[in-house]
């Protein structure tokens, strides 16, 4: 489906989300699982913090030499028998892939999970051309059936509960026995696996994204746990990789360095189950694999971010840690953000990609607790970048409106009973942290017009800062 931005209605979206009991139940899983798993796996690797510094520097090096690396990468893809299609916009990207599919007489396309394909609205474009697009990641499959957009960049159906999935499978898989037992998550997975297996085998074209594009070898790398990205690329005749230009890494060694922080930050795994390196089409000695290999290199606004105060956002490796740790995301979920990329990274990226006029309130969707930055594997200063967006608004002489919007949003979050109701949740601690243990917010970033006059009461309890300090101290003590 095409994702039409509803970001300007963030406040309205957020209010609806807070009132949605099913959603609130599902979001509880984000608060508990992701955070604990990441913390545990990071603690197990003494080099983790040093690896984050290295990852930041590596990404900066790539961005500073992006044009040269893109040329080197292209050369290697061509040498290995692949094709490279450069596209400026979302429309161009979809058109290239639709044309490719049409010219190969394709009737169905199997898709591995790809956020860029969401960004370019690929499924809708394919469907307009009469070509069936089948999402094969379990989460993506579920939300495709429901006609929804992903609500998280690595866990697209995280806003749903098991009973939502069961209801959807019963509604859609009408050819299966009505009295089948779907009470266990295992049975839901088995049903999706069986349904999708046939679709993989029938697909003419497989589309995957890429976590990394390796300039040294012309290789695209995808990382999955299910294996759907692999079936999507080895069974159909044509493999199309759709990836944005900043996904470049220089060498295989650099890819390894980033892999060491990616899965740990994303899902708290030491390594994802499948890390797949694909280079060109099948070779003479191969007995399986695609006969054609195409890479669609998408700019769609990125080249304009280089050299700007938002350049650092292009370091992002799409791990999702920032949203997993964000109290605002925990409260409202991903759909409230109104476009493809939710959470703190979305709050910075969305205005960059679709325009601040369409995303206006998003940089305000923050409690400025700083947790996103503290867990980002490439150390993107997300709160600072959100502030930059507001400064831009000032330059555009929109400040009164923006201040009003910001204060309105702040007041909205601060007063919302539902936000405070998860008293053991992070928002509480984050707000307490911002109040520095004084029980009052004496200054709020960018809300000084308000806090100069009055204090905003802060929730009480052990502050996040205290807990964080204790956590850091405990880590330092480890041999």
């Amino acid at each position: 489906m095409t994702v039409y931005p509803s970001s300007p209605q963030f406040k309205k979206n957020a209010r609806a989300a807070l009132a949605d009991g099913q959603l609130q139940k599902a979001l509880g899983n984000v608060r508990t699982n992701f955070i604990a798993k990441r913390a545990a796996v990071a603690d197990r690797l003494p080099e983790f913090e040093a690896l984050r510094d290295q990852a930041r520097d590596l990404r900066d090096h790539v961005l500073a030499h992006l044009d040269v690396y893109l040329e080197a990468y292209e050369r290697k893809v061509l040498e290995s028998g692949g094709h490279v299609h450069w596209v400026r916009t979302a429309e161009e990207a979809s058109r290239i892939i639709v044309d490719l599919a049409k010219s190969r007489g394709a009737r169905s396309v199997a898709k591995g999970k790809s956020m860029v394909s969401e960004e370019i609205g690929l499924n809708a474009a394919l469907e307009r051309a009469g070509i069936k697009a089948v999402e094969t990641d379990l989460g993506e499959y579920i939300i495709q059936l429901r006609g929804e957009a992903p609500s998280h960049i690595i866990a697209p159906a995280v806003h749903l509960n098991q009973e939502d999935v069961e209801a959807e499978f019963r509604r859609v898989h009408t050819w299966l026995p009505k009295d089948r037992d779907l009470s266990e998550p295992e049975s839901l997975l088995a049903e999706a696996r069986a349904e999708l297996r046939a679709k993989f085998l029938a697909a003419d074209i497989g589309v995957t994204g890429a976590n990394f594009l390796v300039a040294e070898t012309g290789t695209s790398i995808i990382v999955t746990n299910e294996g759907n990205g692999d079936l999507s690329q080895i069974l159909p005749r044509v493999h199309v990789v759709v990836a944005s230009i900043e996904k470049i890494v220089p060498t295989l060694e650099d890819a390894a360095s980033l892999l060491r922080v990616l899965a740990r930050s994303a899902t708290g795994q030491e390594m994802s189950v499948y890390t797949t390196l694909s280079t060109g089409p099948r070779r003479a000695e191969d007995v399986d694999g695609p006969q054609e290999y195409h890479v669609v290199l998408v700019d769609n606004g990125r080249s304009n971010m280089l050299g700007s105060e938002f350049e650092e956002m292009l370091r992002c490796i799409r791990c999702g840690a920032c949203m997993n740790h964000c109290p605002v995301y925990h409260a409202v979920g991903g759909h409230a953000y109104g476009w493809v990329y939710p959470g703190p990274m979305g709050a910075v990226l969305t205005p960059s990609l679709i325009g601040v006029d369409k995303a206006g309130h998003l940089p305000n969707a923050s409690t400025f607790c700083g947790r996103c930055e503290s867990v980002c594997p490439v150390r993107i200063p997300l709160p600072k970048l959100m502030r930059h967006w507001r400064e831009r608004e000032f330059e555009r002489h929109l400040s009164p409106a923006v201040s009003r919007a910001f204060l309105g949003l702040w007041a909205f979050f601060a007063r919302r009973p539902a936000l405070y109701r998860f008293a053991t949740g992070l928002t509480m601690r984050a707000l307490a942290w911002a109040a520095r243990g004084k029980g009052r917010f004496t200054s709020l970033p960018l809300a000084s017009g308000w806090t100069n006059q009055r204090d905003l009461p802060a929730p009480q309890g052990q502050t996040f800062q205290a807990q964080w300090k204790a956590h850091q101290a405990a880590r330092r003590k480890r041999p």
Partner: protein, 223 residues
């Protein structure tokens, strides 16, 4: 202007650089040629015994099951036992890898077929290019010897790995690939596999056996 030229010149304009900036090109060329290793975790380093121990620990932690044999000739019997223990038919699909071809499959009463999978094979066996101790990861490369479909379509994937092929880090696998295929060249597919397929897309509950194999069994040869 073509999209390619447009994008490249926009990147350069944003970065404030020109396309014929020799020092920048030289720095990229140097980095690509040197392909230096970054920070290598302590974990996984050590002698062969330490690497084997770490590999097994890490692999088991992600639900890979492990068997050991002293000599590769004993692998078929161990694999037959594994299949029996899980009530699986004594049938295996495999590529034409010479290291697999000459093993005494018949003596273990295993029925063997060769080639890629079309989706109707329950069990497959592959020969690993290498193992990576730091995360219990297998490296498999495509080719008629070990078709990639065998890594994903069968329900039960069995992989033979020589203990002497267990490396500390991914970077050592890259070194092996460069040696075998040439610098800057790669086979069509390299699969780094760390455990059987899984999904946590339903309420974040971890379930094994998503689209790929439900079971991953590694037979380690030697010590």
């Amino acid at each position: 202007m073509s999209a390619r030229e447009d994008i490249l010149s926009n990147v350069r304009r944003s970065l404030g650089v020109s396309g014929i900036d020799a020092p920048r090109r030289a720095s990229v060329e140097a980095r690509l040629a040197a392909h230096e290793c970054g920070i290598a975790p302590q974990r996984g380093q050590g002698d062969a015994a330490a690497r084997l121990k770490m590999f097994v620990e890490q692999a088991q932690a992600v639900a890979t099951s492990i068997g050991h044999v002293a000599s590769v000739d004993e692998a078929p019997v161990l694999i037959a036992e594994f299949l029996r223990a899980h009530n699986l038919p004594a049938r295996l699909r495999m590529g034409d890898d010479a290291r697999l071809r000459d093993l005494p499959w018949g003596a273990a009463s295993l029925e063997i077929s060769h080639g890629a999978s079309a989706g109707d094979d329950l069990n497959s066996v592959s020969f690993a290019e290498a193992g990576v101790a730091e995360t219990g990861t297998l490296a498999l490369v495509s080719g008629a010897h070990n078709p990639t479909t065998l890594n994903f379509l069968p329900d039960n994937h069995i992989v033979i790995l020589r203990a002497s092929d267990i490396e500390a880090h991914y970077e050592s696998v890259w070194a092996r690939l460069r040696e075998r295929y040439g610098a800057g060249l790669m086979p069509r597919t390299v699969n780094l596999v760390t455990g059987p397929s899984r999904s946590a897309d339903i309420e974040q509950k971890l379930l094994l056996g998503a689209h790929g194999p439900r079971r991953l069994h590694v037979v380690i040869v030697g010590d």
